[in-house]
């Protein structure tokens, strides 16, 4: 990749939720703005824009990452997953989302997309987590509504259901 000039837009392409997407970005464009404004994928929310609140968390190459601390041009060629990629079909929620609904793990929903992306990545590598481990994952997110207790309960329920669903993970 040659040096990309500050004042022009450059092609960026990556995989978003399994589908190839492309658009153009100035080097300074943040990944969340690229997702929301260039691609039109508005499921990813934006809060603090300096890495603290976790609202903008997406998965890049399988890992939960702040999209406010990532440039669109840095993400060229990456594999990105956002909250839009969780549900298996428009009529069905993912197990993790379903547990959030049952446990009232969200109220306004501002923080939810980011929390789901962190928990989804974490549960894949840690199918049988302790509550303390879940709380540690959540330390990277701010929720102003729920008080976190229902979020922890939703995560523990989802983990148990995912284990039952995929015994190979147990």
């Amino acid at each position: 990749m040659p040096r990309l000039s500050a004042t022009s837009r450059h092609p960026v392409s990556f995989t978003l939720n399994g589908r190839p997407v492309r658009g153009e970005a100035e080097p300074r464009l943040l990944l969340h703005d690229f997702l929301r404004h260039v691609i039109g994928a508005t499921g990813t929310h934006v809060g603090c824009e300096h890495g603290v609140c976790g609202a903008c968390t997406v998965q890049i190459d399988g890992a939960p990452v702040r999209s406010c601390l990532r440039l669109a041009v840095q993400s060229d060629g990456a594999e990105i997953r956002t909250v839009e990629g969780l549900a298996p079909s428009p009529e069905r929620l993912a197990i993790l989302q379903e547990s959030f609904r049952e446990h009232h793990g969200l109220q306004c929903g501002f923080c939810t997309a980011g929390i789901l992306m962190s928990l989804d990545a974490f549960l894949r590598g840690n199918p049988d987590p302790t509550e303390a481990a879940i709380r540690e994952v959540l330390s990277g997110h701010l929720c102003r509504c729920t008080g976190y207790t229902p979020i922890v309960a939703a995560a523990m329920t989802a983990a148990a259901r995912l284990r039952a669903e995929e015994p190979s993970h147990a």
Binding site: R3, G54, A63, R66, R70, E136, S139, G140
Partner: protein, 290 residues
């Protein structure tokens, strides 16, 4: 809260990195994990003309355990080291400290070398590097040099690195036999920067204590072992005052000095128990360290 304009260069080779730094001087910035640089750009605390992304340079992705040290390249992320199979055996102090570096979501991006380059006085990785007297490997187009951690950190977010130099790698001396290691930190919440963090290395001859979060950079000094009367408490008292703590939003200077005395003694005692095999080495999970 949007970054100012800059050019972006995704370097493919180390030569490209060195060339860009040579040309750009202080206007060029290395972009590693971006977990400190991007917040600074978003808040417009930095205005570089070009960002040189080092994360795609294969030569900087190496992790090598050679002889008596673990050498970690500039493009190695914190999460990769955190999940290294035998980190507890190789580097028990780093294993204990790394879960305290931000959050899972920042460690998935941030690098160890980036943390050392950034040199925040509360940061855990510089503290561990100093406690173990590790090395920083610097390289520019013209020269290569290696500095010991105590020569590298020079002040508040200030280091001996020249603008044209990249930190190619850092090396941590591997765990030695008959030696105990311990780390503890006090912060407002898990993942926040430390109010005070302490790292201790203890062998049969004495202790070495490194303290972060108090002075404008991590500081370390040799201290007596706890069994020798009040010598340790006296030495901790002197250390606490020498660190020249200041009041800030998060804690008073007095509270910080008290933490140096108490946390300092606790980590040294814990390291003694580990040296003697009374307690197992840290597992790397924060619940055990708290």
């Amino acid at each position: 809260m949007k970054p100012p304009a800059f050019d972006y260069l995704r370097a493919a080779t180390l030569d490209e990195v060195l060339e860009a730094l040579w040309e750009g001087g202080s206007d060029a910035r290395i972009l590693a994990g971006g977990q400190s640089l991007l917040p600074m750009l978003n808040m417009r605390l930095a205005r570089p003309s070009v960002l040189v992304d080092v994360m795609h340079v294969d030569a900087l992705r190496q992790v090598t355990a050679s002889g008596d040290a673990l050498k970690i390249g500039a493009a190695v992320r914190q999460a990769q080291i955190e999940h290294r199979a035998d980190l507890v055996g190789e580097l028990p102090l780093l294993a204990a400290a790394i879960p305290w570096v931000g959050h899972m979501q920042t460690r998935a991006s941030g690098t160890l070398c980036g943390s050392v380059a950034h040199a925040d006085p509360s940061a855990e990785i510089p503290l561990v590097l100093l406690a173990l007297l590790g090395s920083v490997h610097l390289r520019s187009r013209k020269q290569r040099r290696t500095l010991k951690a105590d020569d590298f950190f020079t002040g508040m977010m200030a280091t001996a690195r020249a603008d044209q130099e990249v930190i190619e790698a850092i090396s941590f001396p591997l765990a030695r036999p008959d030696t105990g290691y311990a780390f503890r930190e006090v912060g407002r919440r898990h993942g926040d920067f430390a109010i005070v963090a302490c790292a201790a290395v203890v062998d049969r001859k004495g202790a070495r204590l490194a303290v972060g979060g108090v002075a404008d950079m991590p500081m370390a000094r040799p201290l007596p072992l706890p069994e020798e009367g009040s010598a340790l408490d006296d030495a901790l008292e002197t250390f606490a005052w020498d660190l020249n703590a200041r009041d800030d939003l998060h804690a008073t200077a007095r509270y910080r000095r008290e933490l140096v005395r108490r946390l300092g003694r606790q980590v040294i005692e814990e390291a003694v128990r580990r040296r003697d095999g009374v307690t197992p080495p840290p597992t790397g999970h924060q619940q055990d360290a708290a």
